[in-house]
């Protein structure tokens, strides 16, 4: 397959509410920043992929149609790719295939959500089948909590371990200029915070954010003019039917499959040793524990131990979420692309205060839906 690189990335300064721009303006801001980072203009872009959370979040159906003018995309190919919370990574994968498939030399992927505008839990609860279970739905929090409960004993994903995720990520967010939730917490703070859908408590939950992120993908030829491209060495995105017989609450098969494929493409056999930095999309703290195992950073049931050892801290052996993850900012439709952008910027050494020194290989994980849509990407400062 042809090589594809990220040659620019940009994010808005995410906020609880952006009162100064429309959805289109928010997306444009990130797009302009990514183009500037790539030293390009929109005229250099062949194609645009837009990613958002479910449209019921913000009252505009097919918002890429509205965004086209603000992005300067008139008469260019524009398409929207969605996958719940994983939309940003799914969109990047479609952009990658445009480049690798010869349809474009440079693709702009822009992802955003303006969660302040709508009734988040109401709209996401419509994920549920209207005939079957929607009356019990609490967005994705209800089932996420129920599945976490099932993992606690067999895998040791205790409330304490999850609280440590919250502590780590909220502390990391302080150094991230794009994060807006910058308040350190202690394990006690998290354990004592109000239960929402037990065992998920208030401080296990990310903030609600308005924000956007954009990334410029380029072919090998187009990337020649970039001083420090982040090569996408592997990327895969899998699903499982949400009520299939084989669905496990303990491990995510689509995550395992996506990791296997991405690692194979990238010649990764030992992610913990070979990767320098990891970004995962944790809609609740408990998920980060699952991702350690699903990404092969530790054995099944070893997540709490890995976290407690300090290995996933900023100065640890395998830093996870140096950006602060979703705990620092969670514009859901952008969150997955932010994870990819963050590892790309890490291996391009553009992370300033939260740069992981010497980062050369990064892993990004994202996903959404009924926790049944999962993707993994591997980026590297080396092309091969």
């Amino acid at each position: 397959m042809r090589n594809v690189a990220i040659v620019g990335a940009g994010q808005t300064h995410h906020a609880r509410r952006r009162t100064d721009v429309t959805q289109a303006g928010l997306a444009r801001e990130a797009a302009m920043r990514a183009l500037e980072d790539a030293d390009l203009t929109i005229d250099d872009i062949d194609s645009i992929v837009v990613c958002t959370g479910p449209v019921l979040f913000a009252a505009v159906n097919q918002p890429e149609k509205w965004l086209a003018d603000a992005l300067g995309a008139r008469l260019k190919p524009v398409v929207r790719v969605t996958s719940g919370g994983g939309t940003g990574l799914a969109g990047a994968l479609s952009g990658l295939n445009q480049v690798a498939g010869g349809a474009a030399e440079r693709v702009l992927v822009v992802a955003y959500d303006k969660l302040s505008e709508g009734a988040l839990q109401y709209s996401i609860s419509t994920l549920y089948d209207p005939f079957w279970g929607r009356e019990f739905a609490v967005g994705i929090m209800g089932f996420s909590a129920a599945y976490w409960r099932a993992r606690m004993e067999p895998l040791g994903h205790t409330e304490e371990a999850a609280a440590m995720v919250s502590v780590k990520n909220r502390r990391n967010a302080i150094r991230n200029p794009y994060a807006h939730f910058k308040k350190e917490v202690t394990v006690e703070d998290v354990l004592e915070s109000r239960p929402l859908c037990a065992p998920i408590k208030l401080l296990d939950v990310p903030p609600i954010s308005d924000g956007a992120c954009a990334v410029v993908l380029a072919s090998e030829g187009a990337a020649k003019s970039s001083p420090n491209p982040a090569w996408i060495r592997g990327m895969a995105y899998y699903c499982e039917a949400e009520n299939a017989t084989s669905r496990s609450m303990l491990q995510s098969e689509p995550l395992t499959l996506a990791a296997q494929k991405a690692y194979k493409q990238a010649s990764i056999t030992n992610p913990r040793r070979q990767a320098d930095v990891v970004e995962v999309q944790e809609p609740y703290t408990c998920f980060e524990l699952s991702y350690y195992e699903g990404l092969g950073l530790c054995r099944e049931g070893g997540a709490a131990e890995l976290l407690a050892s300090g290995a996933t801290e900023m100065d640890g052996e395998i830093p996870v979420n140096p950006s602060g993850g979703c705990m620092g900012a969670n514009p859901i439709g952008a969150a997955a692309l932010i994870r990819l952008a963050e590892v790309a910027q890490q291996v391009r050494e553009r992370c300033g205060d939260y740069q992981i020194p010497g980062a050369k290989v990064g892993i990004a994980q994202a996903g959404g839906g009924w926790a049944n849509l999962r993707g993994v990407a591997v980026v590297s400062s080396n092309r091969s």
Binding site: Q62, L75, N97
Partner: protein, 377 residues
């Protein structure tokens, strides 16, 4: 840049459910499973051979956020690479084509579906309009189509007879199409006598939303040659988006459709689009259909009516096109399915022996977004 490392991509098989005003006794999953099963059967491949599923549908039409989540099992996507393109199915085919060309998959399944009967089509379209200027004045698919038709007639000097002829042609073809459920076909007099629904457009001249599902199996060259009696090569694809503000688009033309066509033709190395034997296009109205044919460079502005003459070398919408049957979000993929089956000789629409086709899909309010494919056997 040399494209010798890119794989050629072909349609191996395609299938659809009947398209009808209301599949009231079936759910989305039933329609999807039916189309996918039939498409696989036609390919000789098993679901296990499918590397990736690209699906197209609309949360707003389905009444569910991330609606593909609930339909993955019916698509055969369980534990496979999957992606949802929330646009007409023809864009899903473009994604799948790129992935196979890139070497990222050997076999791709593209699925598109909708059940507009379960909700309000007007609400769906008006929700696409930005909420500050166009939506509050009531712009929806009908008023957008009417304004565009008004502009087209003004620009070309054509009158309503041109619209009647297009509609009657499409309805006649649809009535003969076993996959479209119609109550007979309105003739020219019926079309001309039907109510004005978006002046100057009459009821039979605007696309009729229908329920249905369609599935297309694409494969890389080596697999295609093994599985398909007649592989239908996707030689080119292109898309383009116009301005969201209806009033800022060029009146009387579909500029984005022309841009998409140029891109597809360039990729296919086609310099004479008039050589296509079949044009399957997705138009929201009879006027839009004429504009589409002109944007595809098959005729100059105002002259596409000639393409419907018996002497025309191009067969326009042998399936009937979108006016008699518009399964919103799936229409373009139905066009691809139809064109491929016609070229492969698997369905007879009076186009046997034809060697190439141009296929068109559209999305958005007033056809803001356009996608064009070129096919060859």
């Amino acid at each position: 840049m040399s494209s010798s490392d890119l794989n050629r991509v072909a349609v191996v098989s395609a299938a659809q459910t009947q398209l009808c005003e209301s599949w009231n006794g079936r759910q989305h999953v039933d329609l999807i499973f039916s189309a996918v099963s039939d498409a696989l059967r036609g390919s000789g491949l098993d679901i296990a051979d499918v590397d990736v599923v690209i699906d197209c549908g609309s949360d707003v039409l389905d009444g569910r956020s991330i609606s593909n989540c609930g339909f993955l099992g019916a698509m055969g996507a369980h534990c496979k690479e999957e992606s949802r393109v929330e646009e007409d199915g023809l864009w899903g085919a473009a994604y799948a084509m790129n992935k196979i060309a890139a070497g990222g998959a050997k076999v791709a399944l593209v699925v598109a579906y909708s059940k507009p009967s379960e909700s309000s089509v007007a609400a769906y379209y008006s929700s696409i309009a930005e909420p500050f200027y166009q939506r509050p004045v009531g712009l929806d698919h009908l008023s957008a189509a009417g304004l565009m038709a008004n502009q087209y007639l003004a620009a070309t000097g054509l009158d309503e007879d041109a619209l009647v002829d297009v509609a009657a042609h499409d309805w006649e073809r649809a009535a003969a199409n076993e996959w479209v459920n119609t109550d007979g076909a309105p003739g020219k007099a019926d079309v001309a006598a039907s109510d004005l629904v978006a002046e100057p457009l009459r009821a039979f001249e605007v696309s009729r939303p229908v329920d249905g599902a369609v599935a297309v199996v694409l494969a890389a060259e080596d697999v295609a040659r093994r599985c398909a009696q007649v592989p239908v090569w996707l030689t080119g694809a292109g898309s383009a988006m116009d301005s969201h503000m209806l009033a800022e688009r060029k009146p009387g033309e579909l500029e984005a459709c022309a841009a998409a066509a140029r891109s597809a033709y360039r990729r296919a190395g086609i310099s004479e689009p008039g050589r296509f034997g079949i044009a399957e296009v997705s138009a929201g109205s009879a006027a839009a259909e004429l504009m589409t044919l002109e944007a595809l460079d098959l005729a100059v502005q105002g002259k596409s009516t000639l393409l419907y003459d018996a002497s025309s070398p191009i067969a326009v919408n042998p399936s009937g096109g979108a006016i008699p049957a518009d399964p919103i979000m799936a229409t373009g993929l139905v066009r691809l399915s139809e064109a491929a089956l016609q070229l492969a000789g698997q369905v007879d629409r009076g186009t046997s022996g034809v060697g190439s086709a141009v296929v068109h899909g559209a999305g958005g309010l007033g056809m803001q977004n356009h996608c064009v494919f070129t096919l060859e056997v």
